[in-house]
């Protein structure tokens, strides 16, 4: 598990190449591409194709529906969604506006309950839990990354990252140690005490990613995480996601409208009118860290 990695390993910055900025730790090296991601990519391809049966499902939904009643009208935001996401997946969810992507993410993120259907998260049935139990699940098993970052202003990044640990009743010293490690992992080891409003958009999103990582969750959910960023910064964030997935085995699901962003994922789920219309494994997904796709 990631947590064991966090605790046992000496923290080190993710190897992100070609995008290094002044945030990067000094020991970042340039070898990541060839012997890092390239080999990972082939491993994932094999995983997707062959050993699906032995991989552990993190998310299993069956017949999820969500209906909104608006006066007399009934709106089916989701009508029967079955998806299974495995540990180590890097999934993009795509679809036209209003197709139900955010609705699905909210249900998967335990922020909302489905109207019908079953949902098993990391082996736990969550569809019948009450609000406080769901809060506990969100705290322990899910890391959220939002389009608009949602950091606490006037609050140092290390405290922003530490917030979920406070709700998990982690002691003060342990909290700051783990928060620092998470920030180092996203390349912000030198921005521990900057306030959120003193950071650039990309840096803010990295703080948000560190906050999502810090509890060692089963999945990271990101609803349009690059939506508020320019394409170069968006690629940096994608690179970070790819690296976390490749080097730490993080399970990551995100929503995007951008096909170039989706091309960095191992799997793309397409959704329209509240239904899954496609679920493809990407055989040769692009390495965001190399920056090729955005060199226009």
């Amino acid at each position: 598990m990631f947590g064991n990695l966090l605790k046992s390993k000496k923290p080190q910055a993710i190897e992100t190449n070609g995008l290094s900025d002044d945030d990067m730790e000094p020991h970042v090296n340039g070898n990541g591409v060839s012997n890092g991601l390239a080999s990972n990519a082939s491993r994932f391809t094999m995983n997707n194709g062959v050993s699906e049966l032995i991989r552990k499902p993190v998310i299993e939904t069956k017949g999820i529906t969500k209906t909104y009643k608006m006066g007399d009208e009934v709106l089916n935001a989701l009508s029967g969604v079955d998806i299974t996401i495995y540990q180590g997946d890097l999934v993009a969810i795509m679809g036209p506006s209003g197709s139900g992507k955010s609705t699905l993410m909210n249900i998967v993120g335990c922020l909302d309950k489905p109207t019908s259907g079953t949902y098993k998260l990391d082996g736990v049935d969550v569809e019948k839990m009450n609000d406080d139990q769901l809060a506990g699940i969100r705290n322990q098993k899910i890391g959220f990354v939002f389009q608009s970052f949602n950091l606490l202003r006037r609050t140092p990044s290390i405290e922003n990252v530490a917030q979920p640990l406070i709700y998990a009743n982690v002691g003060g010293r342990e909290r700051s140690k783990r928060s620092r490690e998470a920030l180092e992992m996203v390349g912000l080891g030198k921005r521990l005490h900057h306030h959120a409003n003193e950071l650039s958009g990309g840096q803010q999103q990295r703080v948000a990613i560190a906050r999502a990582l810090v509890t060692d969750p089963a999945i990271i959910l990101a609803d349009e995480p690059t939506g508020n960023l320019d394409s170069k910064t968006g690629a940096e964030i994608m690179c970070l996601f790819q690296t976390l997935n490749a080097q730490r085995g993080m399970t990551i699901i995100f929503v995007t409208h951008d096909p170039r962003i989706a091309s960095h994922c191992k799997r793309v789920i397409r959704i329209a009118d509240g239904r899954i219309i496609g679920d493809d494994a990407t055989v040769d997904f692009l390495d965001a860290c190399r920056g090729d796709t955005f060199r226009e």
Binding site: N106, G109, L111, D112, D131, D132, A135, G136, R138, N139, Q140, F144, F146, N150, L152, R154, T155, Q163, P164, I166, Y167, A168, N169, R211, T215
Partner: protein
């Protein structure tokens, strides 16, 4: 979690300094008003009790009381003559005073003296002075040993022969004789009657207008002969009211009983009859003053309650605004795992903290205002900020913060995280 709540609260308050201060203003004003007024009230209480202590609490006042027609009618009789004031009770006479002097009938009494009061329009030549007139007997000097700076008190002989002699209080002296000097033997005119000055009294109660020092003292016999002739139906000279002093603090109650018995006998009041006089001890008076200050305290408490209520509404208002402003923050906190109770506690803590901060500022301000009054009164006045009133103010501000913070905090805790995160 407590430390976290405090940190979040501090940050929120620091982020909106002016707004926070304005919000706390209600609490600050309420608490400071109460602290300063209670402190000054305690000071007044202490001052009055000090005055009582100076006079000695073995003093007893005997006051004539009107008895309703039919209940004991005309027994004491009411003034009927042309000089009498309509309806004034004439029940206490100089004969009563003589009866009270009898050691075998009132063994616990040390001194007794009649006292009638009026206005004094005094002239020393052309120098005019308006003060109070006290008509009494030579025994009045024994009450607290009121000595003289010039001359001496009139004696029994002068009293019995109704001489026109006057003692001048220290304040009255400075007004009537601005040049100073020994006035004994000089003539002054009191309410158009010539009197001879026989003494000047020592300063006794501050030496100002309105105190005993502004008075001119003459024999009661002379007063009843020449200024205000009052006799009851039996032809006895009316005393006005009567002062008596017990031999000892512990003897006051016994003396009150003895005085009552003697006066009932003298007035021929039957077993079931109603007293036509009232005996009140200094202690009774002290209790009355205590009751008045008690009522004032209740009044203060009401003001405090109202201002704290208003302050509390201010806090509730701003907390509601704060919850709305921080909807996204609340949504985020919920998304990353804050349970409802945690959100509730966070906002209640913030509200209590705000209110307590206001209370603390109010306590400091109130203390400062009370000290200012003390300084301006040249220290003749004390302000007592008691730990009790500070603790109470503190407790009440915390309570107000709690009560008025719960509703906004509850609203925050009930927010739907999805809608909260989407809030613009």
């Amino acid at each position: 979690m407590f430390k976290e709540n405090l940190r979040v609260a501090l940050r929120a308050i620091a982020a909106n300094k002016l707004r926070s201060v304005l919000t706390m203003l209600g609490i600050i004003i309420g608490v400071s008003a109460v602290i300063s007024l209670v402190a000054l009230g305690n000071g007044v209480d202490q001052f009055i009790n000090g005055q009582f202590a100076k006079q000695g609490s073995n003093l007893v006042f005997i006051i004539p009381v009107r008895v309703e027609q039919g209940k004991g009618a005309n027994r004491a009789g009411f003034a009927a003559g042309p000089n009498s004031r309509q309806g004034q009770s004439l029940s206490l006479t100089l004969n009563d005073v003589e009866a009270l002097k009898n050691k075998s009938r009132v063994p616990d009494l040390a001194y007794v003296a009649p006292l009638a009061q009026g206005g004094a329009r005094a002239f020393n030549g052309d120098t005019k002075y308006l003060g109070s007139l006290r008509a009494t007997s030579p025994d009045y000097r024994h009450f607290n040993n009121w000595g003289t700076t010039y001359g001496d008190w009139f004696d029994e002989a002068a009293y019995n022969s109704k001489q026109r002699v006057a003692l001048i209080g220290s304040y009255a002296y400075t007004k009537l004789f601005p040049d100073g000097g020994d006035p004994v033997g000089l003539e002054i005119r009191l309410n158009d009657i010539a009197f001879r000055v026989i003494g000047v009294l020592k300063e006794r109660s501050g030496g100002t207008q309105g105190s005993e020092d502004d008075s001119i003292i003459i024999p009661l016999t002379t007063f009843r002969e020449r200024m205000q002739p009052l006799k009851n139906a039996k032809g006895q000279t009316v005393a006005g009211f009567v002062l008596a002093q017990a031999a000892d603090q512990d003897k006051v109650d016994a003396m009150v009983q003895q005085v009552t018995d003697v006066l009932r006998q003298e007035h021929g009041i039957q077993f079931a009859g109603e007293d036509d006089f009232s005996v009140g001890s200094q202690r009774d008076l002290q209790n009355t003053v205590g009751a008045v200050t008690g009522a004032l305290t209740i009044f203060l408490a009401a003001i405090a309650g109202i201002s704290l209520f208003v302050g509390g509404i201010g806090i509730m208002n701003i907390m509601l605004v704060s919850v709305t402003e921080r909807t996204r923050e609340i949504g985020l906190r919920k998304a990353i795992g804050a349970r409802r109770s945690i959100i509730l506690m966070q906002f209640v803590a913030e509200s209590i903290f705000l209110s307590l901060l206001g209370g603390t500022i109010g306590i400091a301000l109130g203390w400062g205002m009370a000290q200012l009054v003390v300084i301006f009164s040249n220290g003749s006045f004390q302000a007592l900020v008691t730990p009790g009133s500070v603790a109470l103010a503190f407790g009440f501000s915390a309570f107000v913060g709690l009560v008025f913070g719960v509703y906004p905090a509850w609203r925050a805790s009930q927010l739907n995280p999805i809608e909260a995160l989407r809030y613009e």
